[in-house]
């Protein structure tokens, strides 16, 4: 379980590269600065791709949880 609470959840289960990243970007646009987006993914590639996206765009990856074949990312909008 994660220690942060999300303001919004995006479930990309079943989707493959590059859709989780593209949908994350769109979902972040709907949030206010400082709010947290929870992204659920089943794409193993997203394990490296979501941190790369955050590093590049300046949003903060607060926490990553891996459970039962799912990767859950908590991203704080910059």
């Amino acid at each position: 379980m994660a220690s942060v609470t999300a303001d919004k959840t995006l479930d990309t289960s079943g989707l493959n590269c590059p859709l989780p990243v593209l949908k994350t970007k769109k979902a972040l646009e709907e949030l206010q600065s400082g709010q947290i987006l929870e992204v659920i993914s089943t794409d193993p590639g997203s394990k490296a791709d979501i941190p790369a996206f955050c590093q590049r765009t300046g949003h903060e990856l607060v926490e990553t949880v891996e459970e039962g074949g799912k990767y859950i990312f908590y991203i704080k909008k910059k």
């Binding site: 989707l15 493959n16 590269c17 590059p18 859709l19 990243v21 593209l22 970007k25 794409d43 996206f53």
Partner: protein
């Protein structure tokens, strides 16, 4: 403008249509100004009718795996046949490519496999590129060569451009990048 990524798409088969669109939509969502220059067969990716019928070429493609999507392998008889074929042949024998209808069959199987794995379709990726403000530039010279009119191509494209326009667009950036596909 700090960074610009320019991708040159020259191939018009289904498999080759993916890399430029995936790279462009992702780069744009990472905040990089991105453009795709569609030239030669790459123009088919943005051709209103042809984009719906991009195909996989089994001939001269020895790297191609047998493509039986998971949903086919799970069906009783067809699934067992598919698994048997996969155990004998690592890929479709090149000779099979000359069988009429084989290209369409392989394409259908590949499309099914993409869908089963949650991979976006080409029209979906084009839409995602447009939403992410990727500039889609058709090559003027090849359009004339193939007899494609601007209205034969999908909506939302930049005006047709030539090599000089494109190179200039790229080099205006502080950090220009070009990928050739």
């Amino acid at each position: 403008m700090a960074e610009r990524l320019a991708i040159i798409a020259t191939k018009g088969t289904l498999d080759w249509a993916y890399p430029p669109l995936i790279l462009a939509s992702t780069a744009a969502s990472l905040g990089v100004e991105t453009a795709i220059f569609f030239t030669f067969y790459g123009l088919n990716i943005i051709h209103k009718e042809k984009m719906e019928h991009l195909k996989i070429a089994p001939v001269a493609n020895p790297a191609m795996p047998m493509v039986f999507p998971p949903s086919v392998k799970k069906t009783p008889v067809a699934g067992q046949l598919a698994s048997l074929m996969e155990s004998i042949f690592p890929g479709p024998p090149q000779l099979m490519g000359v069988i009429p209808g084989m290209t369409d069959f392989m394409t259908a199987m590949m499309k099914k496999m993409f869908k089963d794995h949650g991979v976006a379709s080409i029209p979906e990726l084009i839409e995602l590129c447009k939403e992410a403000d990727v500039k889609l530039i058709p090559c003027q010279m090849t359009m004339e060569l193939f007899g494609y009119k601007y209205e034969d191509l999908i909506d939302g494209l930049e005006p047709p451009g030539g090599a000089a326009t494109f190179i200039n667009y790229v080099l205006e950036a502080d950090k220009p990048m070009i990928i050739f596909v």
